[in-house]
Amino acid sequence: MPSPKPPRIARYPALRYVAVMATCMVFGGVVGAAAAIMGSLGAVPVAAMAFVIALGMAGVIWMCGWWWRGLDEAAREAHKWAWWWGSTFSLAIGGVVLLTGMVALDAAQVSTALAAYDPVDLVQGGAFAVLLLQTLGYALAWVFWWARHR
């Protein structure tokens, strides 16, 4: 039986990952600049803004697909495992901290302490805290998977 060619994987997946991250940042920068320019020109239709952002996001997803296709099955398994367990654990830990804080802290004191901040900043800060926690959990879980499979 003739041996079919093995699937092609990236020779340096870490470099490919850095390239993807760098390109994503460039995409983000371009979309951010485009949104700023469009905003400075006056009232821009929401549809136009959404189109520019969707275009940038499509580019990012395309790059992620290129990176994913360069991984072999074990590397993909590590990422899937890290995505599930890393995110789940980090959200669980964050949930414990949040719920404990809600129970233990005085609501009036918290309101007074946060009154100095812009509500938009608080919402964005909360969203970034979740993102940061999940990314941290993902990275730790990924390292754990590979340590366990060495």
Partner: protein, 63 residues
């Protein structure tokens, strides 16, 4: 799951990197397979069998 990958590779004087190239996986994956800490998918198990020209059941065995 146990396997004879390391023995089969040594019989052919292949490095882990060489076997990885033949299988289309990374060297880290070959290492994980050899230590028995990662069980391959069916397509990869078939590729391994083809590379070593042996039936799957003579390469992989249950614990």
């Amino acid at each position: 799951m146990n396997n004879r990958l390391k023995v089969l590779r040594a019989e052919r004087n292949w490095s882990q990197a060489e076997l990885a190239d033949r299988l289309g996986v990374s060297r880290q994956t070959v290492n994980a397979l050899e230590t028995g800490r990662y069980d391959p998918s069916l397509p990869l198990a078939f590729r391994i069998a083809r590379v070593f020209e042996q039936p799957i059941e003579s390469i992989f065995m249950e614990d």
